[in-house]
């Protein structure tokens, strides 16, 4: 077979370009990784911090706590439960919204498919309005997703007061968008054969959608929802860093007091929770794919009917574990809404509307801000009249002062991080892949000794554990810890993002490799190649396009995260958002938030475009 040389040079070119991106971003962000004051010994603190990893605290490290204060473990348990509670409440808001958005963002159910001749005016009008509706839904999805949940939380907490429900709604908005987007993609990616078969029996497109596409996509939708819940747990923990009472708050307080043992205890608690949900999701997927075995049918009775219908129905295979799990989750969610601390703020309607009014006034750009803080809507609109030039000047000033540089830094942080994560994952994959990290890769060298087998199994296990740890802790928590240890520069943010995404890419890329047919690499190994040669020569090129697919998907989420990591005090968009928030300059905050949203929106479009191109060619690679 002729090997097209150009494809190989294409792959090499991509790698060179990505490394070039890394160097450029490094140049933008400056070379100094450690930024500590003169005389400080960073390594002593780092040593003390990692010492805490081996000796997590089970009791308060603070010696001067008042008597009768809740013990540390109890507090940690409570904050962990609150983390879960807010995540569940947020998901219960995001899931119905995501279902509706996903349905409306898909065109698979539109009437008029498989019809003849010119469409009637009525149907054309209907399809036109559905197209408009779909367009609006996609806009809503993108808007919700392009602002980070932490920023939504800042906005809502400012507008509605310190109520947990504000945090939950903030979580729910981007999550509803993501769920909607993924649901519509899952539905559109289903094979069309069952839909076509139902339409051939005279079913309407909506019936074919409900009868064929939706049931086929359901298992993937359910497991994706569980994955989103895992993400919600992480995000809920991160909300602690802006004061919501989740485990993030405890981590922050313990760290700021240098109680490193406490920090590690809480980190471990969070990791265990997230990993449990991760395992749950994997089990659920396995069960849904496999289905449950039917109980053996009794010998047929001698009657006319061999197996009567009601007997078959009674003994039908039903997965009680999954059904029970779904029911338990619903009950737990109801409990989360109704039991425990009130979710809403303790405010009267008047107080609430006054708060909202003041918030809106501060949110209005300074040049057009009404004198009256409690101005009505029409007064606010009136103030804008004829002053668009001034608003543009105001925005231009913010842009030249900090905006442009912050935007550049944000994109550079995200890009450097994802390339680093990609390089790390590519290097670690042969050690972590279930296919390669074993005594006899691809079953060729059946004679590997016991010691060799054990060694490779251990290497594989530890590498995969590193991936799990990487993705279980939110990037914001990593960034917070690293900024504390390495001092304020962009690099701790880059490293934090890279570490988290290394875990995710390691898993996604590993799955891609495991799904490849083994013949290619096996052939290499049979020809005498080692596992690394088989990886470089066969598995990696075979999986390259799929790797890039996930790479761009993660790059998009990195930009999203990078817009907020600056809140830790490093010059990027998040920094100016938090500064403006602290100074109650909500108008400037809104400017930077929208700038970040624009960056995410652009990244979203670019990544979608790349992925669509790659998906076209991924099948044949």
């Amino acid at each position: 077979m002729k090997v097209p040389v150009s494809i190989w040079s294409g792959k090499r070119l991509v790698v060179v370009i990505l490394l070039g991106v890394l160097v450029t971003c490094g140049w933008i962000l400056g070379p100094r990784v450690i930024h500590l004051s003169e005389g400080a010994n960073p390594f002593a603190e780092i040593e003390r911090f990692f010492g805490g990893a081996l000796a997590p605290s089970l009791e308060d490290e603070n010696p001067s706590l008042p008597a009768g204060a809740k013990p540390f473990l109890l507090r940690t348990g409570e904050s962990l439960m609150r983390t879960c509670r807010y995540a569940l409440v947020a998901m219960s808001l995001a899931l119905p919204a995501g279902l509706v958005l996903g349905f409306l963002a898909s065109s698979a159910w539109w009437p008029g498919a498989m019809m003849y001749g010119a469409a009637s005016l009525k149907r054309r009008l209907l399809r036109g309005s559905l197209r408009l509706l779909r367009w609006m839904c996609r806009l809503l999805i993108t808007l919700g997703r392009s602002i980070h949940e932490l920023v939504w939380a800042l906005l809502f907490l400012s507008a509605l007061g310190d109520a947990p429900i504000a945090a939950c709604v903030a979580l729910a908005l981007p999550f509803a968008g993501t769920l909607g987007k993924v649901f519509s993609e899952l539905i559109d990616e289903q094979t069309q054969a069952p839909r076509a078969a139902l339409m051939a029996t005279g079913a309407s497109p909506l019936q074919a959608f409900c009868g064929a596409l939706l049931p086929a996509a359901f298992p993937e939708m359910l497991t994706y929802t569980v994955y989103r819940f895992e993400c919600a747990l992480r995000s809920s923990a991160v909300l602690g860093f802006i004061g919501v009472e989740t485990i993030g708050l405890g981590i922050r307080q313990s760290y700021e007091n240098l109680y490193y043992g406490e920090v590690w205890t809480q980190l471990y608690a969070l990791v265990v929770l997230v990993v449990l949900v991760d395992i749950l999701g994997a089990r659920l997927r396995e069960r849904l794919n496999r289905g449950v075995a039917r109980k053996a049918l009794p010998e047929p009775t001698a009657g006319e009917e061999r197996y009567p219908e009601d007997l078959l129905r009674r003994t039908a295979p039903r997965d009680w574990v999954v059904r029970g799990g779904v029911l338990a989750t619903v009950l737990l969610t109801l409990l989360c809404w109704n039991v425990g601390k009130e979710l809403g703020a303790d405010l009267t309607t008047d107080q609430r509307s006054e708060r909202m009014s003041r918030f809106l006034t501060k949110l209005t750009p300074a040049p057009v801000r009404p004198e009256n803080r409690l101005a009505t809507g029409s007064e606010r609109v009136e103030a804008f009249r004829g002053k668009t030039g001034e608003v543009a000047d105001w925005a231009g000033d913010l842009w030249t002062r900090n905006g442009a540089e912050a935007l550049l830094n944000t994109v550079a942080i995200a890009s450097a991080a994802i390339v680093l994560a990609g390089v790390g994952a590519a290097l670690l994959l042969p050690l972590g892949s279930r296919a390669l990290a074993r005594g006899d890769p691809f079953g060729v060298l059946g004679a590997a000794s016991r010691g060799v087998r054990f060694l490779w199994a251990a290497v594989g296990f530890f590498t995969r554990s590193l991936f799990v740890l990487g993705r279980a802790v939110p990037e914001y928590v990593y960034a917070f810890l690293l900024v504390g240890l390495l001092g304020p520069s962009a690099w701790p943010l880059v490293l934090a993002l890279a570490l988290h995404n290394l875990g995710i890419l390691g898993r996604l890329w590993g799955e891609v490799m495991e799904n490849q047919r083994p013949e290619g690499p096996r052939h290499w190994i049979q020809c005498g190649a080692g596992r690394f040669q088989a990886y470089l020569g066969s598995l990696a090129p075979l999986s390259f396009n799929r790797f890039l697919l996930f790479f761009f998907y993660r790059w998009e989420t990195c930009i999203r995260e990078a817009t907020i990591l600056g809140m830790l005090g490093i010059s990027s968009l998040g920094y100016y958002v938090s500064i403006a928030h602290n100074w109650l300059r909500y108008d400037e905050m809104l400017f930077y938030v929208l700038l970040g949203a624009a960056a995410v929106f652009a990244g979203d479009l670019l990544s979608d475009w790349m992925r669509r191109r790659l998906r076209g060619s991924a099948g044949c690679s």
């Binding site: 054969a193 005279g202 409900c210 064929a212 289905g291």
Partner: protein, 255 residues
Amino acid sequence: MEKILELADIHRSFGAVKALSEINLQIHKGERVALIGASGSGKTTLLRLLGAQLAPDRGEIRVLGRDPLALGESGLRELRSRLGYMPQDLGLVPNLRVLQNVVAGRCGRRSILGTLRDLILPALGVRRRIHALLERVGIEEKMYDRVDTLSGGQQQRVAVARALFQEPVALLADEPVSAVDPARARDVLDLLVRLCEEEGLTLLVSMHQLELAQDYFPRVVGLKAGRIVFDGEGSSLREEEMADLFQLRERAAGV
């Protein structure tokens, strides 16, 4: 006898590819017809035209005495609901039960709410009817099993049951024996022929095994490059006509 499917001077292209040209075909009620030809000779396109799923570029078409091109949405749906169609890939939903896949056959006569209800659990009477139907195709003990746990042959029977549950006038099956071994192929054709005789259905099956077609079908229609080259009793197929079809098969296989 009543003509239920009629095509007159039908042409159909997909882009630059001419799938069918100058097709003239009449099929009467109760007839059993095999449609034979190589891959790409236009069999699927012809079946989909007859199933009122595809419009011709040119020509006259009558399905159950009506012109599908003149029908609106409800008329078309009603027409399709009276034609059982078995696609080559069967078009079953793998993670649904046999029951739900079969009951989907009556979508054309149901409202959307009825379809949703059927998806959860159809009424007792409907379940009994499906049970009886599955008994006739020989897989009634699989009624509540997921389709993806069934063997290929069993899945084919599910598709047959779904088409029969439509209570159709005619059954159009696209390559039902292309993916099964010779013994299984005879089982499938035995089943189709027996069911259609019992119900008095018109049966139209596309395939590429000439021998099987001659054994099971009184009438054989040969397609070559989108044109009908033979239409008559299978046993009257002359040597050179047969050679022509076979030659075409070899050429198609060599591509």
